[in-house]
């Protein structure tokens, strides 16, 4: 059996040798054009006129296109079709595409971009959430989740706190920037190689923009050099732009953003600004809570409303709060349209809650962990979320108990507090925070997948699903499932490139659901194939001397060997069985389908069961801070998760360590800084600091509990892509605790990310006070 085994990533060999092919590694085609675009230099404005003559005259420049050249619909969007591919007149953010340039070389393209003359009337921009609120500039409707009477509960509570919590944006910082190659075909067809998490959406948008049918567009995704949500919706822009060029020029067209371009023109994780008011008793039990979320959606809707929905569904994190009101509003600003990033609003909701817990603890002079334990969702009671779903398979209490012991939390907390009383140069903080992360797309219909499994006459197998491989190992996990279901060796199973030609109407590989739903679809296909093969095997392995009836149910196919369980001595190979089945005209290809059961979501009332299950975990992080420079170091982190029955422990461990470190970046060093005019300053790794290998803590313990009871999901697993990112909130909380431990019982506001500048500035306010 392969499920549950630590097998290497199916592309690992290619990755370490340099053989793996990414979009921009594909050999240049004869006649191929290099494509890019001229973008809005202002955050808000109106084009008075465009002079393209000089750009057209540059040798090597083949064509320039504006919105006027679009045959189909210029506006598109995954939820609201509000975003133009090419700005028609109004300019809404710096980086917005205006003119597409197709050239024989990158050099000619660069010259043309500089030669375009745009006369632009500048308009007053909106950059902050406060300005958007003042201007009533919103995307979609304000939504609310409500249970009980929060106002009364807070009014009656012995203690209250209130405040505003700020969390910043984050660049996905996939190493492979956005890229696509569009190749025109006959009869108006087009094939597009796209580095996307969402081939079907790319196909849809291309058809929509070019004015052709979806059946004329094939989108192929071999792999991505990282996605992290950034290629869920925003891979569509480069792919559609290259396709426009291919359609108009009848030549292959390649677009590959530079890292700087990518960071400037694509959206990021949403900054949030969340107001909160909370009532609690002497013991620290939260009696009532009111949170009002505002996110910076940027100029266009993209996925902002869905991201807000997930933020709201994670506002209470792991805590049962009966009387609660959660509302969420997406602000429209003149920034890049913000988009999906690992966690998809969940981190912004959970960080707000954990900030609240830290502040309650300091008000009461208590260990925040005691409060977390006290308020945690119950197993059999106090287990209904504000939106009405029951928290099933709740392992957080168990994780708390185990982790608090294995991490030696209590002793280390005492030590840190003592250290802070004594040291004049350094501060320490330690925090234990949980996560409960809902798995399934909030939008119910997206929770479906299909798979195509083809068995060849030599017994080898090709599997195609809508899942896209971005490093997370989804293909490896699906291959493991297929090998087990068909009873073949893992080496007999090959995962094929993702293509809309084989798998139609697929959902994005996102929301951590990739292996759950695509694996589920592949299993469905395998079971149908296996049933047919078992029928063949039943007769092929029949023993005329055995009086018992032939029985498909007793056929065993395992590790490439086939036998009747009642007569295990007589075997045949899987390849022979397949060969024989082919001779008997038995279909050796099958399509599988999966629709996540049990889930439902009322998009108006914001109530229901949006998630099939929850992935849970907790982490303890201990930090040390230089009091003078604000520079912070994570000294030790202990992570404990519930990921159900792991399909591949090596891959899952890598998802946990990777997500945690990425989350640590969001919480600490990753800061998007802009000029007063709205131009992004931090558009490359010299200025935008994702964690480095040296930021990894000296002690990094990663583990998960044994839990084989999540049978509701594929192979009893729990999704692992996003949830561990939220464990890094413990790093931020540890910083907050460190600062508050020397603030004489006062609440110290702390923004997220807690950069060295933010930390040093806060310490200065404590010292001054």
């Amino acid at each position: 059996m392969f499920v549950g085994r630590n097998v290497p990533h199916d592309s690992a060999r290619g990755h370490v040798t340099g053989d793996s092919i990414y979009v921009d590694d594909m050999p240049r085609l004869a006649n191929e054009l290099q494509v890019g675009f001229f973008w809005s230099p202002v955050a808000h404005g109106r084009i008075r006129s465009l002079d393209l003559a000089a750009a057209r005259a540059i040798p090597g420049v083949v064509a320039l296109f504006t919105h006027d050249d679009i045959d189909g619909e210029n506006r598109f969007g995954p939820i609201f079709a509000d975003e133009p591919l090419l700005a028609p007149g109004e300019l809404s953010y710096i980086g917005q595409p205006i003119v597409v340039i197709a050239a024989e070389s990158r050099e000619a393209f660069e010259k043309a971009r500089r030669a375009i003359v745009a006369d632009i009337e500048t308009l007053a921009p909106i950059f902050t959430i406060d300005d958007a609120i003042a201007a009533k500039a919103f995307i979609g409707a304000r939504k609310t989740i409500n249970r009980g009477d929060d106002a009364a509960a807070i009014a009656a509570a012995p203690h209250t706190i209130e405040g505003v919590f700020h969390s910043g944006g984050q660049d996905q910082f996939y190493l492979e920037s956005q890229a696509a190659i569009a190749i025109p075909g006959e009869n108006g067809t087009i094939t597009v190689h796209s580095s996307t998490q969402n081939p079907s959406e790319v196909q849809d948008v291309i058809a929509h923009v070019l004015g052709v049918s979806q059946s004329q567009v094939v989108v192929v995704t071999r792999r991505m050099g990282g996605g992290f949500g950034g290629k869920e919706c925003q891979a569509t822009h480069p792919a559609a732009i290259a396709s426009l060029v291919a359609q108009k020029t009848k030549r292959p067209a390649r677009i590959a953003y530079t890292k700087d371009e990518d960071m400037v023109v694509t959206g990021h994780r949403h900054p949030f600004q969340n107001r909160y008011r909370v009532g609690f008793d002497d013991a620290g039990r939260i009696l009532g809570m009111e949170v009002d979320f505002y996110s910076d959606g940027g100029a266009f809707a993209d996925l902002s409303t869905a991201i807000m929905a997930r933020a709201m569904c994670h506002a209470e994190n792991a805590y049962y709060i009966h009387d609660i009101a959660i509302s969420g509003t997406v602000c429209r600003t003149n920034s890049t349209p913000n988009t999906a990033m690992r966690g998809f609003g969940g981190p912004q909701g959970v960080a707000t809650m954990e900030n609240i817990v830290e502040e309650i603890a300091v008000k009461l002079g208590r260990d925040p962990f005691e409060l977390r334990r006290l308020n945690c969702y119950g197993i059999d009671d106090r287990n209904t979320t504000p939106y009405g779903a029951v928290v099933e398979n709740n392992t957080i209490p168990r994780i708390f108990d185990e982790l608090v012991t294995t991490s030696d939390y209590a002793r280390r907390r005492d030590e840190a507090l003592r250290f802070n009383r004594e040291s004049k140069t350094r501060l320490r903080g330690i925090a234990l925070t949980p996560v409960k992360f809902g798995i399934s797309f909030n939008t119910t219909f997206l929770n479906q997948a299909n798979a195509l499994v083809n068995i060849y006459r030599d017994g080898t197998v090709q599997v195609s699903t809508g899942a896209t491989e971005m490093g997370q190992g989804v293909n490896t996990k699906i291959a493991q499932m297929v090998a087990d279901e068909l009873g073949v060796e893992l080496s007999a199973v090959r995962m094929m490139v993702t293509s809309t030609e084989k798998n139609n109407n697929t959902s994005a590989t996102a929301a951590s659901t990739g292996s759950d739903i695509n694996g589920g679809a592949a299993i469905d296909a395998c079971r149908k194939l296996r049933a047919r093969l078992a029928d063949c095997a039943m007769t092929l392995l029949a023993d005329p001397g055995d009086p018992r009836a032939q029985s498909a149910a007793s056929i065993v196919i395992r590790d490439g060997v086939v036998f009747d369980a009642r007569r295990p001595e007589k075997t045949m190979t899987f390849a022979d069985l397949v060969h024989a089945a082919h001779r008997q005209r038995v279909s050796l290809g099958e399509r599988g389908f999966y629709a996540t059961p049990l889930i439902h979501w009322d998009v108006e009332k914001f109530a229901g069961r949006p998630f099939l299950y929850y992935t849970m975990g907790a982490a303890v992080s201990e930090v040390e801070i230089d009091r003078f420079t604000g520079m912070m170091r994570l000294m030790r982190a202990d992570l404990l998760m519930d990921i159900g029955s792991s399909i591949n422990p090596g891959i899952d461990r890598g998802q946990i360590t990777g997500a945690f470190v990425q989350g640590m970046g969001w919480c600490t060093t990753e800061e998007l800084r802009y000029t007063a005019e709205g131009e992004l300053l931090t558009h490359s790794p010299t200025t935008y600091k994702i964690p480095n290998i040296q930021d990894l803590p000296e002690v990094f313990n990663v583990a998960w509990i044994e839990n084989d009871t999540n049978t509701i999901n594929t192979k009893g697993s729990k999704a692992v892509g996003e949830p561990p990112l939220l464990l890094a909130i413990s790093v931020w909380a540890a910083v907050k605790q460190a600062l508050m431990s020397v603030a004489g019982g006062r609440v110290v506001p702390l923004k997220l990310p807690a950069t060295n500048e933010e930390i040093a500035t806060r310490i200065a306010t404590i010292v001054d006070a």
Binding site: P8, H9, A12, R13, H15, V16, T17, G18, I21, Y22, D25, F173, L175, E176, S177, R223, M224, G225, G227, F228, K259, S423, K424, T425, R426, M470, G471, Q472, D626, R627, F628, T629, M631, M632, R633, I651, G654, G658, V661, Q662, T669, R673, L681, T682, S684, P685, T686, T687, K689, I690, P691, N692, I693, Q694, D695, L696, N756, E757, A760, A764
Partner: protein, 481 residues
Amino acid sequence: MRDHLELYLNGREVRVAGADAFRTVASWLREVRGETGTKTVCEEGDCGACTVLVGAPRGGAIDYVPVNSCIQLLFQLDGKHVVTVEGLRLGDELSAVQRSMVDHHGAQCGYCTPGFVVAMTALRESNATVSGRDAREALTGNLCRCTGYDPIIEAALDMTGGHGKSLDELYAPAPIAEALEAASDSVRIDSGSRTFFAPASHHDALEFLAAHPETVIVQGATDFGVQSNKRSLRPDVMMTLSRLDGLDAISIEGGTLVVGGRATLTSLERFSEGRVPSLHAILRLFGSPQIRNAGTLAGNIANASPIADTVPFLFVCEAELELESVRGRRVVGINHFYKGYKKLDKAPDELITRVRVPLPAAAETVRLYKVSKRRDLDISTFTAAIRMTIGGGRMSGVKIAYGGVAPVVLRLPKTEALLDGREATEGLFREAGEVACSEIAPIDDVRGSKEFRLLLARNVLMKFFHEEIAGGPTARSGGAR
């Protein structure tokens, strides 16, 4: 004089003439050679995805170091053996590093992986046994967004499988070194309006500079390459010093550290270990191994950045620069070398041949500070060097230099005067912080606000006081090394 480059790529001889010599190594590999294993991501030497090994022949042997191929120009590799990720396996067999990266899940999306594999190969070449600390140091110049690095460190600790061969076993060094060393003449390549010159003698270098004062010296290219990629910096005339003997020497002569004009930061880091601890500490935080393998001290000085990491140290040591031209040799004190933002007391035809650093006495305290958003591989927000003798309860010989607070690195004479000869007290250092703020003119920029820099200007003095004077050994911060 040759009109083409002579180099080896993965064991095969390659000659390059004309415009390709002016490409970056990464673009040459990917676009000309079609070898796309080497990835380009940031094009500024910050992510390491493009890391390749550059082997320099030396007496029949070849020493390999990892560098960032996205900011190296191909002409810099004349006379070198370049090994890329494609050149590490042996037939179908993976190298020890490749095998370990597969087995430990060191690769997820795979885009950073070639760079890690190459950097880790350099680590394995130089260390028989590898510790977690070694792995972190060797891989500081490589960013990964997927793994959280932990699986990569695991891989680095277990480089035992695969074909197990070293680079010298994969590529017999003697014939390659011999061929490369035989081509010891000077090189001049003209392509369109552009000229590249690699002089074979000191004299030729100075003559060329005199004849072409517009020449840009491209030695490490760790900043030049970035400017070339990001700001289309395309000077017509460029020269490297790589073929000049002697300029890579480092020595201590009568208490003075003498660093040759093309000595790399890596060689200075190695040399200063145990000899100049304060300098060694800051060099370890300078860029990354890839950057230090290419960049030079003279380049860091001549680049004239107000946040150059080595310069505050050179200021408080009152280092001197030796400048040479056909007109002769002169010496300039570094405290007078910077005339304004990126303005130097250096004529276009002058070459920095040596940096002389009178070293502080053992009894003196010298502390260098680097404040950056991320501790490692980050450009500083603020830098400082504080030097003094603390004895008999009084401070003497106080020298303070700050970087990142003005268009050039500054000495703080008023602050120095306030402290000099006085008893060290917390109150005095607090006062010194206020004086320091009056001597600087920081601005808001991408790396920090003006207010933050003013806060740091005060705090760094308090840090010095608490860590070096008031506190015991436990006071020293682990957070900002």
